[in-house]
Amino acid sequence: MFSVLPLRAIAFQCLFLLLAIAIEAAVLHEGLKLPYRKSVEYAASINLLSTAIGWLIFFSIEPLVPTNLKFQLINCIFFDQWSSGIAAWIIFAGFVTFFISFLVKLSGLDLLKLLLQDKEEKRSEQEIQADKSKRYQNTIRARKNAREGPSRANAVLIANALSYTAILLVLFIRIIVPADIRL
Protein backbone atom coordinates (compact mmCIF):
# COMPACT_ATOMS: atom_id res chain seq x y z
CA MET A 1 0.00 0.00 0.00
CA PHE A 2 2.83 2.40 0.79
CA SER A 3 5.14 1.52 -2.08
CA VAL A 4 4.09 4.54 -4.17
CA LEU A 5 5.20 7.76 -2.51
CA PRO A 6 4.94 11.35 -3.80
CA LEU A 7 8.59 11.98 -2.90
CA ARG A 8 9.47 13.65 -6.19
CA ALA A 9 6.61 16.12 -5.78
CA ILE A 10 7.83 16.90 -2.26
CA ALA A 11 11.42 17.34 -3.44
CA PHE A 12 10.33 19.67 -6.24
CA GLN A 13 8.10 21.64 -3.91
CA CYS A 14 10.95 22.12 -1.43
CA LEU A 15 13.29 23.21 -4.23
CA PHE A 16 10.76 25.66 -5.66
CA LEU A 17 9.96 27.07 -2.22
CA LEU A 18 13.64 27.63 -1.43
CA LEU A 19 14.19 29.24 -4.82
CA ALA A 20 11.16 31.49 -4.51
CA ILE A 21 11.93 32.50 -0.94
CA ALA A 22 15.55 33.36 -1.82
CA ILE A 23 14.56 35.41 -4.85
CA GLU A 24 11.60 37.16 -3.25
CA ALA A 25 13.56 37.96 -0.10
CA ALA A 26 16.16 39.72 -2.25
CA VAL A 27 13.46 41.67 -4.10
CA LEU A 28 11.66 42.65 -0.88
CA HIS A 29 14.97 43.69 0.68
CA GLU A 30 15.70 45.96 -2.28
CA GLY A 31 12.21 47.19 -3.00
CA LEU A 32 10.85 47.75 0.48
CA LYS A 33 14.14 48.56 2.23
CA LEU A 34 13.56 45.82 4.79
CA PRO A 35 16.38 44.36 6.89
CA TYR A 36 17.72 41.00 5.67
CA ARG A 37 16.16 38.90 8.40
CA LYS A 38 12.74 40.51 8.03
CA SER A 39 12.73 40.18 4.25
CA VAL A 40 13.55 36.47 4.46
CA GLU A 41 10.84 35.96 7.08
CA TYR A 42 8.29 37.88 5.01
CA ALA A 43 9.22 36.08 1.80
CA ALA A 44 9.00 32.71 3.56
CA SER A 45 5.61 33.54 5.08
CA ILE A 46 3.98 34.73 1.87
CA ASN A 47 5.36 31.86 -0.20
CA LEU A 48 4.31 29.23 2.32
CA LEU A 49 0.89 30.88 2.45
CA SER A 50 0.43 30.83 -1.31
CA THR A 51 1.62 27.20 -1.48
CA ALA A 52 -0.80 26.16 1.27
CA ILE A 53 -3.69 27.97 -0.42
CA GLY A 54 -2.71 26.38 -3.73
CA TRP A 55 -2.94 22.91 -2.17
CA LEU A 56 -6.29 23.71 -0.58
CA ILE A 57 -7.64 24.90 -3.95
CA PHE A 58 -6.33 21.71 -5.58
CA PHE A 59 -8.00 19.50 -2.98
CA SER A 60 -11.30 21.36 -3.28
CA ILE A 61 -11.33 21.21 -7.10
CA GLU A 62 -10.11 17.60 -7.43
CA PRO A 63 -13.42 15.86 -6.54
CA LEU A 64 -15.27 18.02 -9.10
CA VAL A 65 -13.01 17.06 -12.01
CA PRO A 66 -14.87 15.00 -14.66
CA THR A 67 -13.65 11.44 -15.21
CA ASN A 68 -12.09 12.15 -18.57
CA LEU A 69 -9.97 14.97 -17.16
CA LYS A 70 -9.14 12.78 -14.16
CA PHE A 71 -7.56 10.16 -16.45
CA GLN A 72 -5.44 12.90 -17.97
CA LEU A 73 -4.49 14.19 -14.54
CA ILE A 74 -3.44 10.68 -13.47
CA ASN A 75 -1.50 10.39 -16.71
CA CYS A 76 0.34 13.62 -15.92
CA ILE A 77 1.07 12.76 -12.31
CA PHE A 78 2.13 9.13 -12.70
CA PHE A 79 3.55 9.05 -16.21
CA ASP A 80 4.38 12.65 -17.19
CA GLN A 81 2.26 12.21 -20.33
CA TRP A 82 0.85 15.53 -21.46
CA SER A 83 -1.76 15.38 -24.15
CA SER A 84 -2.27 18.57 -26.15
CA GLY A 85 -5.73 18.90 -24.61
CA ILE A 86 -4.42 19.16 -21.09
CA ALA A 87 -1.40 21.26 -22.07
CA ALA A 88 -3.72 24.14 -22.98
CA TRP A 89 -5.46 23.78 -19.65
CA ILE A 90 -2.11 23.79 -17.84
CA ILE A 91 -1.02 27.01 -19.54
CA PHE A 92 -4.33 28.62 -18.64
CA ALA A 93 -4.03 27.32 -15.06
CA GLY A 94 -0.50 28.74 -14.94
CA PHE A 95 -1.75 32.23 -15.74
CA VAL A 96 -4.54 31.99 -13.20
CA THR A 97 -2.12 30.64 -10.60
CA PHE A 98 0.26 33.53 -11.20
CA PHE A 99 -2.36 36.20 -10.57
CA ILE A 100 -4.00 34.39 -7.66
CA SER A 101 -0.62 33.88 -6.01
CA PHE A 102 0.19 37.56 -6.58
CA LEU A 103 -3.02 38.60 -4.83
CA VAL A 104 -2.49 36.08 -2.05
CA LYS A 105 1.07 37.27 -1.48
CA LEU A 106 0.09 40.93 -1.50
CA SER A 107 -2.74 40.49 0.96
CA GLY A 108 -0.60 38.04 2.92
CA LEU A 109 2.02 40.73 3.33
CA ASP A 110 -0.61 43.19 4.61
CA LEU A 111 -1.96 40.58 7.02
CA LEU A 112 1.52 39.77 8.24
CA LYS A 113 2.30 43.43 8.90
CA LEU A 114 -0.94 43.75 10.83
CA LEU A 115 -0.22 40.60 12.80
CA LEU A 116 3.35 41.50 13.67
CA GLN A 117 2.65 45.09 14.65
CA ASP A 118 3.70 45.65 18.26
CA LYS A 119 1.25 47.25 20.61
CA GLU A 120 3.84 49.72 21.87
CA GLU A 121 4.69 50.70 18.35
CA LYS A 122 1.03 51.23 17.56
CA ARG A 123 0.48 53.35 20.64
CA SER A 124 3.48 55.56 20.04
CA GLU A 125 2.40 55.98 16.46
CA GLN A 126 -1.01 57.04 17.66
CA GLU A 127 0.47 59.52 20.12
CA ILE A 128 2.63 61.05 17.46
CA GLN A 129 -0.30 61.29 15.14
CA ALA A 130 -2.45 62.92 17.83
CA ASP A 131 0.17 65.62 18.22
CA LYS A 132 0.07 66.56 14.62
CA SER A 133 -2.69 68.64 13.07
CA LYS A 134 -5.26 66.72 11.13
CA ARG A 135 -4.53 68.32 7.79
CA TYR A 136 -0.85 67.71 8.08
CA GLN A 137 -1.54 64.17 9.06
CA ASN A 138 -3.81 63.68 6.09
CA THR A 139 -1.26 64.97 3.62
CA ILE A 140 1.34 62.74 5.24
CA ARG A 141 -0.92 59.76 4.98
CA ALA A 142 -1.83 60.48 1.40
CA ARG A 143 1.81 60.84 0.51
CA LYS A 144 2.70 57.72 2.43
CA ASN A 145 -0.02 55.78 0.64
CA ALA A 146 1.07 57.09 -2.70
CA ARG A 147 4.66 56.18 -1.93
CA GLU A 148 4.20 52.87 -0.18
CA GLY A 149 1.06 51.37 -1.72
CA PRO A 150 2.15 51.01 -5.31
CA SER A 151 5.76 50.31 -4.42
CA ARG A 152 4.74 47.40 -2.23
CA ALA A 153 2.48 45.97 -4.92
CA ASN A 154 5.23 46.56 -7.43
CA ALA A 155 7.80 44.80 -5.29
CA VAL A 156 5.51 41.80 -4.77
CA LEU A 157 4.67 41.67 -8.48
CA ILE A 158 8.34 41.76 -9.47
CA ALA A 159 9.20 39.22 -6.79
CA ASN A 160 6.43 36.89 -7.99
CA ALA A 161 7.40 37.29 -11.63
CA LEU A 162 11.07 36.56 -10.92
CA SER A 163 10.37 33.52 -8.78
CA TYR A 164 7.96 32.10 -11.38
CA THR A 165 10.58 32.66 -14.06
CA ALA A 166 13.13 30.75 -12.00
CA ILE A 167 10.70 27.90 -11.43
CA LEU A 168 9.86 27.75 -15.13
CA LEU A 169 13.56 27.65 -15.90
CA VAL A 170 14.01 24.66 -13.59
CA LEU A 171 11.04 22.92 -15.23
CA PHE A 172 12.53 23.66 -18.63
CA ILE A 173 15.88 22.19 -17.57
CA ARG A 174 13.99 19.10 -16.41
CA ILE A 175 12.48 18.72 -19.88
CA ILE A 176 15.89 19.02 -21.54
CA VAL A 177 17.64 16.57 -19.23
CA PRO A 178 17.24 12.99 -20.50
CA ALA A 179 14.73 10.93 -18.58
CA ASP A 180 17.15 8.31 -17.29
CA ILE A 181 19.35 10.73 -15.31
CA ARG A 182 16.52 12.77 -13.85
CA LEU A 183 15.71 12.99 -10.15
Partner: protein, 331 residues
Protein backbone atom coordinates in the same frame (compact mmCIF):
# COMPACT_ATOMS: atom_id res chain seq x y z
CA UNK B 1 15.99 -16.11 45.50
CA UNK B 2 13.62 -13.67 47.20
CA UNK B 3 16.65 -11.66 48.24
CA UNK B 4 17.77 -11.38 44.61
CA UNK B 5 14.35 -10.20 43.46
CA UNK B 6 14.26 -7.65 46.23
CA UNK B 7 17.70 -6.39 45.30
CA UNK B 8 16.67 -6.14 41.64
CA UNK B 9 13.65 -4.01 42.54
CA UNK B 10 15.74 -1.79 44.81
CA UNK B 11 18.23 -1.28 42.00
CA UNK B 12 15.40 -0.57 39.58
CA UNK B 13 13.82 1.92 41.96
CA UNK B 14 17.02 3.87 42.61
CA UNK B 15 17.60 3.98 38.87
CA UNK B 16 14.16 5.13 37.83
CA UNK B 17 12.78 6.83 40.92
CA UNK B 18 11.03 10.06 40.00
CA UNK B 19 13.12 13.01 41.22
CA UNK B 20 9.99 14.85 42.34
CA UNK B 21 6.50 13.62 42.92
CA UNK B 22 5.24 15.79 40.07
CA UNK B 23 7.53 14.97 37.17
CA UNK B 24 7.45 13.23 33.81
CA UNK B 25 8.72 9.99 35.33
CA UNK B 26 5.63 9.92 37.53
CA UNK B 27 3.43 10.26 34.48
CA UNK B 28 5.20 7.44 32.66
CA UNK B 29 4.79 5.27 35.77
CA UNK B 30 1.12 6.19 35.92
CA UNK B 31 0.67 5.17 32.30
CA UNK B 32 2.44 1.85 32.89
CA UNK B 33 0.29 1.37 35.98
CA UNK B 34 -2.91 2.10 33.99
CA UNK B 35 -1.92 -0.38 31.30
CA UNK B 36 -1.00 -2.96 33.89
CA UNK B 37 -4.38 -2.58 35.53
CA UNK B 38 -6.11 -2.70 32.16
CA UNK B 39 -4.27 -5.94 31.36
CA UNK B 40 -5.09 -7.35 34.78
CA UNK B 41 -8.70 -6.38 34.26
CA UNK B 42 -8.82 -8.13 30.91
CA UNK B 43 -7.42 -11.29 32.50
CA UNK B 44 -9.57 -11.32 35.63
CA UNK B 45 -12.89 -9.88 34.58
CA UNK B 46 -14.39 -8.97 31.27
CA UNK B 47 -15.69 -5.43 31.67
CA UNK B 48 -14.74 -3.84 28.40
CA UNK B 49 -15.56 -0.33 29.50
CA UNK B 50 -13.19 -0.32 32.48
CA UNK B 51 -10.49 -1.92 30.40
CA UNK B 52 -10.82 0.65 27.60
CA UNK B 53 -10.96 3.48 30.08
CA UNK B 54 -7.77 2.35 31.79
CA UNK B 55 -6.00 1.88 28.47
CA UNK B 56 -7.08 5.37 27.41
CA UNK B 57 -5.76 6.78 30.66
CA UNK B 58 -2.52 4.93 29.92
CA UNK B 59 -2.22 6.65 26.53
CA UNK B 60 -3.11 9.97 28.08
CA UNK B 61 -0.44 9.77 30.77
CA UNK B 62 2.11 8.46 28.30
CA UNK B 63 1.45 11.36 25.92
CA UNK B 64 1.72 13.93 28.69
CA UNK B 65 4.82 12.28 30.14
CA UNK B 66 6.62 12.02 26.82
CA UNK B 67 5.67 15.59 25.95
CA UNK B 68 7.08 16.78 29.25
CA UNK B 69 10.23 14.66 29.01
CA UNK B 70 11.06 15.94 25.53
CA UNK B 71 10.13 19.58 26.19
CA UNK B 72 13.74 20.79 26.22
CA UNK B 73 15.27 18.12 24.01
CA UNK B 74 16.63 19.50 20.76
CA UNK B 75 18.75 18.45 17.82
CA UNK B 76 21.02 20.91 16.07
CA UNK B 77 21.16 20.31 12.38
CA UNK B 78 22.82 22.66 9.86
CA UNK B 79 22.43 25.53 12.29
CA UNK B 80 18.74 24.80 12.75
CA UNK B 81 17.40 23.91 16.16
CA UNK B 82 14.88 21.12 15.84
CA UNK B 83 12.64 20.21 18.75
CA UNK B 84 11.30 16.70 18.10
CA UNK B 85 9.19 16.74 21.28
CA UNK B 86 5.95 18.21 19.87
CA UNK B 87 6.13 15.89 16.86
CA UNK B 88 6.40 12.77 19.00
CA UNK B 89 3.71 14.02 21.37
CA UNK B 90 1.56 14.88 18.35
CA UNK B 91 2.05 11.42 16.89
CA UNK B 92 1.01 9.82 20.19
CA UNK B 93 -2.00 12.13 20.43
CA UNK B 94 -3.10 11.30 16.88
CA UNK B 95 -2.71 7.56 17.42
CA UNK B 96 -4.81 7.66 20.51
CA UNK B 97 -7.40 10.17 19.26
CA UNK B 98 -8.12 8.45 15.94
CA UNK B 99 -7.60 4.84 17.01
CA UNK B 100 -11.27 4.00 16.46
CA UNK B 101 -11.46 5.69 13.06
CA UNK B 102 -8.45 3.97 11.51
CA UNK B 103 -10.49 1.64 9.35
CA UNK B 104 -12.84 4.30 8.05
CA UNK B 105 -10.43 7.19 7.58
CA UNK B 106 -6.87 5.85 7.36
CA UNK B 107 -5.60 9.28 6.29
CA UNK B 108 -6.98 11.19 9.26
CA UNK B 109 -4.19 10.56 11.82
CA UNK B 110 -1.49 11.39 9.26
CA UNK B 111 -3.17 14.50 7.92
CA UNK B 112 -3.87 15.90 11.37
CA UNK B 113 -0.46 14.95 12.80
CA UNK B 114 1.43 18.09 11.62
CA UNK B 115 -1.43 20.37 12.66
CA UNK B 116 -1.74 18.85 16.13
CA UNK B 117 2.04 18.89 16.57
CA UNK B 118 2.18 22.55 15.58
CA UNK B 119 -0.59 23.33 18.05
CA UNK B 120 1.33 21.49 20.79
CA UNK B 121 4.51 23.34 19.87
CA UNK B 122 2.64 26.65 19.98
CA UNK B 123 1.25 26.21 23.50
CA UNK B 124 4.43 27.23 25.41
CA UNK B 125 4.59 30.45 23.39
CA UNK B 126 1.23 31.52 24.80
CA UNK B 127 2.21 30.80 28.42
CA UNK B 128 4.30 32.79 30.80
CA UNK B 129 5.43 31.96 34.31
CA UNK B 130 2.54 31.49 36.61
CA UNK B 131 1.25 29.85 34.36
CA UNK B 132 -0.64 32.69 32.74
CA UNK B 133 -1.82 33.45 29.24
CA UNK B 134 0.21 35.89 27.19
CA UNK B 135 0.27 37.06 23.61
CA UNK B 136 3.62 36.19 22.08
CA UNK B 137 5.88 39.05 21.01
CA UNK B 138 6.36 39.95 17.34
CA UNK B 139 9.25 37.51 16.92
CA UNK B 140 7.21 34.72 18.49
CA UNK B 141 4.25 35.54 16.27
CA UNK B 142 6.41 35.44 13.14
CA UNK B 143 7.71 32.02 14.21
CA UNK B 144 4.15 30.82 14.82
CA UNK B 145 3.03 32.00 11.37
CA UNK B 146 5.81 30.05 9.66
CA UNK B 147 5.29 27.02 11.92
CA UNK B 148 1.60 26.80 11.11
CA UNK B 149 2.04 27.37 7.38
CA UNK B 150 4.73 24.68 7.23
CA UNK B 151 2.53 22.25 9.14
CA UNK B 152 -0.40 22.95 6.78
CA UNK B 153 1.84 22.16 3.81
CA UNK B 154 3.09 18.98 5.50
CA UNK B 155 -0.46 17.80 6.06
CA UNK B 156 -1.26 18.67 2.43
CA UNK B 157 1.59 16.35 1.41
CA UNK B 158 0.06 13.60 3.49
CA UNK B 159 -3.35 14.26 1.90
CA UNK B 160 -1.77 14.14 -1.53
CA UNK B 161 -0.19 10.81 -0.68
CA UNK B 162 -3.55 9.42 0.37
CA UNK B 163 -5.24 10.89 -2.72
CA UNK B 164 -2.71 8.96 -4.83
CA UNK B 165 -3.47 5.80 -2.83
CA UNK B 166 -7.19 6.33 -3.52
CA UNK B 167 -6.49 6.64 -7.22
CA UNK B 168 -4.38 3.49 -7.13
CA UNK B 169 -7.28 1.77 -5.37
CA UNK B 170 -9.61 2.79 -8.21
CA UNK B 171 -7.07 2.07 -10.95
CA UNK B 172 -4.76 -0.66 -9.57
CA UNK B 173 -3.53 -1.63 -13.05
CA UNK B 174 -1.45 1.55 -13.11
CA UNK B 175 0.92 -0.22 -10.72
CA UNK B 176 2.08 -2.58 -13.47
CA UNK B 177 3.53 0.35 -15.37
CA UNK B 178 6.77 2.24 -14.84
CA UNK B 179 6.78 5.61 -13.04
CA UNK B 180 10.30 6.52 -14.19
CA UNK B 181 9.20 9.64 -16.03
CA UNK B 182 6.93 10.96 -13.31
CA UNK B 183 7.71 14.32 -11.72
CA UNK B 184 5.54 13.50 -8.71
CA UNK B 185 5.85 9.94 -7.50
CA UNK B 186 8.34 7.14 -7.10
CA UNK B 187 7.55 3.46 -6.82
CA UNK B 188 9.76 1.80 -4.22
CA UNK B 189 8.66 -1.62 -5.45
CA UNK B 190 9.51 -2.61 -8.99
CA UNK B 191 6.44 -2.94 -11.22
CA UNK B 192 5.21 -6.46 -11.98
CA UNK B 193 3.02 -7.52 -14.85
CA UNK B 194 0.87 -9.41 -12.35
CA UNK B 195 -0.21 -6.07 -10.82
CA UNK B 196 -2.13 -5.39 -14.01
CA UNK B 197 -5.65 -6.71 -13.79
CA UNK B 198 -5.30 -7.67 -17.44
CA UNK B 199 -3.66 -10.83 -16.09
CA UNK B 200 -6.77 -11.64 -14.07
CA UNK B 201 -9.00 -10.88 -17.05
CA UNK B 202 -6.99 -13.08 -19.41
CA UNK B 203 -6.86 -15.98 -16.96
CA UNK B 204 -10.63 -15.86 -16.46
CA UNK B 205 -11.15 -15.57 -20.22
CA UNK B 206 -8.91 -18.59 -20.73
CA UNK B 207 -10.94 -20.71 -18.35
CA UNK B 208 -14.18 -19.66 -20.06
CA UNK B 209 -12.77 -20.48 -23.50
CA UNK B 210 -11.63 -23.89 -22.27
CA UNK B 211 -15.07 -24.48 -20.80
CA UNK B 212 -16.74 -23.64 -24.09
CA UNK B 213 -14.39 -25.36 -26.54
CA UNK B 214 -12.64 -28.27 -24.91
CA UNK B 215 -14.02 -31.57 -26.05
CA UNK B 216 -16.03 -30.07 -28.89
CA UNK B 217 -15.89 -31.42 -32.39
CA UNK B 218 -13.92 -29.70 -35.11
CA UNK B 219 -17.08 -28.39 -36.77
CA UNK B 220 -18.41 -26.86 -33.57
CA UNK B 221 -15.01 -25.37 -32.82
CA UNK B 222 -14.79 -23.85 -36.25
CA UNK B 223 -18.25 -22.35 -35.88
CA UNK B 224 -17.21 -20.80 -32.56
CA UNK B 225 -14.01 -19.42 -34.08
CA UNK B 226 -15.91 -18.07 -37.05
CA UNK B 227 -17.99 -15.96 -34.66
CA UNK B 228 -14.99 -15.02 -32.54
CA UNK B 229 -15.89 -11.31 -32.31
CA UNK B 230 -19.26 -11.80 -30.68
CA UNK B 231 -18.05 -14.77 -28.62
CA UNK B 232 -15.18 -12.78 -27.12
CA UNK B 233 -17.47 -9.79 -26.49
CA UNK B 234 -19.71 -12.18 -24.58
CA UNK B 235 -16.73 -13.53 -22.62
CA UNK B 236 -15.63 -9.96 -21.84
CA UNK B 237 -19.03 -9.28 -20.30
CA UNK B 238 -18.87 -12.44 -18.20
CA UNK B 239 -15.35 -11.68 -17.02
CA UNK B 240 -16.12 -8.10 -16.06
CA UNK B 241 -19.15 -9.35 -14.14
CA UNK B 242 -17.02 -11.84 -12.28
CA UNK B 243 -14.10 -9.60 -11.20
CA UNK B 244 -14.62 -7.03 -8.47
CA UNK B 245 -16.19 -3.82 -9.69
CA UNK B 246 -13.64 -1.02 -9.88
CA UNK B 247 -13.67 2.29 -11.70
CA UNK B 248 -10.95 1.05 -14.01
CA UNK B 249 -13.12 -1.76 -15.40
CA UNK B 250 -14.46 0.51 -18.16
CA UNK B 251 -10.90 0.97 -19.38
CA UNK B 252 -10.38 -2.73 -20.11
CA UNK B 253 -11.30 -4.37 -23.40
CA UNK B 254 -11.03 -8.00 -24.32
CA UNK B 255 -10.41 -8.90 -27.93
CA UNK B 256 -9.70 -12.11 -29.74
CA UNK B 257 -8.34 -12.98 -33.16
CA UNK B 258 -7.93 -16.30 -34.90
CA UNK B 259 -5.11 -17.44 -37.12
CA UNK B 260 -4.04 -20.76 -38.62
CA UNK B 261 -5.72 -23.39 -40.76
CA UNK B 262 -7.69 -26.50 -40.04
CA UNK B 263 -7.16 -28.47 -37.95
CA UNK B 264 -4.71 -26.27 -35.97
CA UNK B 265 -5.90 -22.83 -34.97
CA UNK B 266 -4.47 -20.15 -32.66
CA UNK B 267 -6.83 -17.99 -30.67
CA UNK B 268 -5.02 -14.85 -29.56
CA UNK B 269 -6.71 -13.27 -26.53
CA UNK B 270 -5.80 -9.64 -25.87
CA UNK B 271 -6.63 -7.54 -22.82
CA UNK B 272 -6.37 -3.94 -23.94
CA UNK B 273 -5.80 -1.15 -21.40
CA UNK B 274 -6.90 2.28 -22.55
CA UNK B 275 -6.33 4.10 -19.29
CA UNK B 276 -3.41 6.15 -18.02
CA UNK B 277 -0.14 4.60 -19.09
CA UNK B 278 3.49 5.45 -19.75
CA UNK B 279 2.80 4.50 -23.37
CA UNK B 280 0.71 6.97 -25.35
CA UNK B 281 -2.45 5.16 -26.32
CA UNK B 282 -2.13 2.44 -23.73
CA UNK B 283 -0.87 -1.13 -23.85
CA UNK B 284 -2.16 -4.65 -24.13
CA UNK B 285 -1.40 -8.05 -22.68
CA UNK B 286 -1.86 -11.16 -24.78
CA UNK B 287 -2.29 -14.85 -24.30
CA UNK B 288 -2.09 -17.04 -27.38
CA UNK B 289 -4.01 -20.28 -27.12
CA UNK B 290 -3.44 -23.08 -29.57
CA UNK B 291 -6.42 -25.22 -30.44
CA UNK B 292 -5.58 -28.69 -31.72
CA UNK B 293 -7.56 -31.82 -32.52
CA UNK B 294 -6.97 -34.86 -30.41
CA UNK B 295 -8.18 -38.30 -31.44
CA UNK B 296 -10.74 -39.75 -29.06
CA UNK B 297 -9.84 -43.08 -27.51
CA UNK B 298 -12.50 -45.73 -28.01
CA UNK B 299 -14.98 -43.39 -29.65
CA UNK B 300 -18.55 -44.45 -29.12
CA UNK B 301 -20.61 -44.68 -32.23
CA UNK B 302 -21.92 -41.50 -33.85
CA UNK B 303 -19.41 -39.27 -32.09
CA UNK B 304 -16.68 -37.31 -33.85
CA UNK B 305 -13.32 -38.99 -34.23
CA UNK B 306 -11.41 -36.03 -32.79
CA UNK B 307 -12.14 -33.33 -30.23
CA UNK B 308 -10.56 -29.92 -29.59
CA UNK B 309 -7.87 -29.48 -27.03
CA UNK B 310 -6.75 -26.05 -25.90
CA UNK B 311 -3.32 -25.13 -24.63
CA UNK B 312 -2.59 -21.54 -23.63
CA UNK B 313 0.84 -19.90 -23.41
CA UNK B 314 1.81 -17.66 -20.52
CA UNK B 315 0.75 -14.02 -20.62
CA UNK B 316 3.05 -11.60 -22.44
CA UNK B 317 4.65 -8.44 -21.03
CA UNK B 318 3.00 -5.06 -21.47
CA UNK B 319 3.03 -4.36 -25.20
CA UNK B 320 2.49 -0.74 -26.31
CA UNK B 321 -0.56 -0.27 -28.51
CA UNK B 322 1.13 2.42 -30.51
CA UNK B 323 4.55 1.05 -31.53
CA UNK B 324 5.65 4.19 -33.42
CA UNK B 325 5.45 6.60 -30.50
CA UNK B 326 6.74 3.94 -28.13
CA UNK B 327 9.95 3.48 -30.07
CA UNK B 328 10.50 7.23 -30.48
CA UNK B 329 10.24 7.67 -26.73
CA UNK B 330 13.14 5.31 -26.36
CA UNK B 331 11.52 3.33 -23.59
Amino acid sequence: MLEAIKRFFEQFWTQFKPPRSFSWQTLIFLSLFSWGMSLLNSVLTDTEFVQDFLATMGWFFLTLGVGWALADFKIEFLGLKIYPGPWITGALTCTFLFEGLREEFPALPFVSWPLISAAIAAVPKFLKRGPEFKVPDAKGRQELVILFLVSIILSCWFSFHFLLQDWLGDYPSILADRFDRSAFVINTASPRVSDSRGVLILNLAESIVIDELEGRSLAETELWLFNVQSRVADIEKQVLDRISFLEENVLWNLEGSVSGNAPRYTLNLQAIWQGPSSQTGGYFLQKPCSITQQPVRNPPAASPPTVSQIECNPISDLIPLNPITASSQGS
